[in-house]
Symmetry: C2
Subunit: 549 residues, 2 copies
Amino acid sequence: MLHWLRGYRRAALPGDIGAGVVVAMMMIPQGMAYALVAGLPPVAGLYASILPPLVYALFGSSMTQSVGPMAIVSLMTAAAIAPLAAPGSALAGVLAAQLALVAGGVLLLCGLLRLGFLASFFSRPVMSGFTVGSSFVIAWGQLKPLLGGTPAHPHVPSALLGLGSLLLLVLARFGLAPLLQRLGLKKGAADVVAKLAPMMVVLLSIVLVAQLDLPALGVAVTGPVPTGLPQLNLATSPAHWNALVQPGLLIGFVVFLISMSAAQSLAQKRGEKLVSNRELVGLGAANVASMVSGGFPVTGSLSRSAVNFAAGANTPLASVISAVLLALALVLPTGWLALLPLPTLAATIIVAVLGMLELATLRTAWDYDRGDALAWLVTCVGVLALGVEAGVIVGVVLSMGTLIWRASRPHIAVLGRIPGTEHFRNVERYAATTCATVLFLRIDANLFFGNVDAVNERIEDELRAHPSTRHLVLVMSAVSSIDTTALFALSELNASLRTRAVKLHFAEVKGPVMDRLRASNLLDQLSGRIFLSTAIASDFLNHPPEKDD
Amino acid sequence: MLHWLRGYRRAALPGDIGAGVVVAMMMIPQGMAYALVAGLPPVAGLYASILPPLVYALFGSSMTQSVGPMAIVSLMTAAAIAPLAAPGSALAGVLAAQLALVAGGVLLLCGLLRLGFLASFFSRPVMSGFTVGSSFVIAWGQLKPLLGGTPAHPHVPSALLGLGSLLLLVLARFGLAPLLQRLGLKKGAADVVAKLAPMMVVLLSIVLVAQLDLPALGVAVTGPVPTGLPQLNLATSPAHWNALVQPGLLIGFVVFLISMSAAQSLAQKRGEKLVSNRELVGLGAANVASMVSGGFPVTGSLSRSAVNFAAGANTPLASVISAVLLALALVLPTGWLALLPLPTLAATIIVAVLGMLELATLRTAWDYDRGDALAWLVTCVGVLALGVEAGVIVGVVLSMGTLIWRASRPHIAVLGRIPGTEHFRNVERYAATTCATVLFLRIDANLFFGNVDAVNERIEDELRAHPSTRHLVLVMSAVSSIDTTALFALSELNASLRTRAVKLHFAEVKGPVMDRLRASNLLDQLSGRIFLSTAIASDFLNHPPEKDD
């Protein structure tokens, strides 16, 4: 904990300060916008941007991760709360904080149980399909606030402001960085400055609203924001808590997957070490902190973390600085926030999620592995057709299905002797000679419940294909572990082969596997023998010294 | 379909007839008892024992599987229906039939999607813990009907009848077969005759009820049973259908797991081939047939199938014969069934599930693999504490967690050259020499989303441990496939190493893997080279012909 602070080098300070300022400027509009996506008052997004990154800096392992509100997690928050409370209501705020507590509790528990290995749960195509589908849902949901009404019946002043903001933001996104570079800025600096455009557009829109008195024309604004920090209130009914358990679990899961994929890609750039179990604890604590400060579920965001990284962040001190700046913004008079027009916030959301609408992963998968491309499409369509929560479940089912399917296809080779040598090789790839009564099968996978059926089936197929077999030798050179299910299966195979007058032998069993097998009674019951090598087995079984079989 | 009938040999007939008669005699009390477990009128158990095995004989692939009501599936049926309808009500019957339709539909769909590989979803310890927990719940639930009241306040005539039946059944279970053997019967025949004891006890109890007019004393009996076959009625509200989707899915899943584990153990005994996708279709069609005939979810039962097997069944004709006999029993006057006392049925249930309360799996796992023993305990406690549905989910989560955990631990070895040879081996196991600037890592697993994070982490660890590395050579001799996620990861590793002035090379890439990689742009971007063998890579990188590095 805080190991980055103990070894802090002064040289890291300028980068951390610069990144802290940039990220704070990015977080103000982003936090408020994502609070709107979550169906909460915009100020909740600021609440969720202060304590969580501070707490994450204490417990997390990433040097450059920026923890706070994030579009997809906000969408999931909205989906969880929608059946229970009206958007923007006081109850919605309380439920959102509870949801952060549930998600944070799940993450902390997983961290204590050392379940960090779950980070590799989703394949890249499933994650990408989920992200693209969710981004589309988010952008679609912002059309109404952007236009102040439906596309068929827009509110003209709102639509002008919203589309104007959108135009400015799109220009800034695609044109500002190249422009600044042509004006002499370095590429990295130009990119960082371009990321401040949303803050500039928001400030500009506030000036416009104040000067033209746009609320009088019917343009929606955020309205009065309470000064200071929020009060904690979790007094809802048990029915509310119950309804939040499942969404909280799914949100905790998605928080972890999104944050890990962001943190990993940044850690790899500098060869930094990421500890997944500490990430679980860091994210869990950050979400609990979000609950305490009246926020909603938070996670590490790739777009914000990449800006933090590019702006020169060296340690979590950058996040601490940006959190302090945000807290100052809330403690100072917040009257200016009241005039922030919602169409402009909608525009910042749409531009932010445009960046997540990438099809490169789908294209690569399509060329490289059609099955992965299908997984992308099914997940994306799942989100679009069934909603974001069902989309997560679709992703889980697809990932698990793929895992089991892969596990259930172990490689098994029939071995033959390379004439004149001691070597035994796959008869399908080498000119190797076999013997009618002795069948050698090499199992190229660890034996466990996920593949014992497949191994059994293959053994039976080979026995049918080699009906004169009297000795089956399983070559275990690639088997590093045998679980209890596989132990039972081997035991039953031995018994079944015995009734069919086939002896079961093992060859080249690894030391640790042998040690484990000695703790079972498989070796006592074995109809055959254990051979050190395949060659020894072959010599012995073809010229048995005993009267046998 | 029906391939067993086309090739039917007359020699198989006596065995099939004998087994058909025995199984029918076993099915009458068992079917009625399991209908009670499901919260249905006993006759529903007979309905569920006729059409389903006939349909399974048409589509299934097992030669000796006996499909019909089964204790655990009945318990799950009761759990699904309990919130919606009173036990024994007409609505409960309708909902049970609907549930069979949902479960059957799920199974058929999985069969059409060729998801048979899901049969290896549960590890043996998880399955055993689930079975033991469920058996205990079932036995516990039968205490009240056994005693006609609570243990503190039993209904004396009912309790006498129930405990008397229990005593007879326990004696028959443990003493009858040895007794018959001592009287000269063969072991197999004695076992089969002993399995008819429940039917004998049921008949005896009916005679007692009739002679002593026990219903007048308050002993509960099944009551009038409609003659003939049931009428189909699925007219319930959409809310009912919705409430049955999730339990139907879980039941379909459990039906498949239970049936496959029974069928596999029998198929192995005779070296018969089981086709898991055909099993899905057979079980799905059997459940739809159960719906049509007013039954409830059915599955293949190990205890009944083992009797079928032991009684000499050679083909599914045995099941056809037993179904015909059961249909005859229903078409003939069924007045005798009305007098069947519930305490005796409760006793048959308790004795039936006693056979499933086995701790041998736990004991073996405890000695062999403590993690597997823990999985057993967690699943069993899950069923006892949270109910049978939650128990299935606990099992799924445990199995998936184990799968991901295993996948996330690929074996990776640092290789060195055995001095004076062309051979490269794991430096931890052989006296092999390494070179400061070239690091050889052999990856002993297929690369996919489940292990890319772990592989990446290990590579970074080794690079930290070998800071003077300028060339990283991944030895791919054991890698048979690379999925899209791993392709991205390799591409990012290449880019990240390039910024750190480390070149990435591959050696011993398998032909099919190479073909796939050529469809991607990884090879174009690669900072290093592809080498045919590790030795060639070593020679080249230590004595580069070009000015390099």
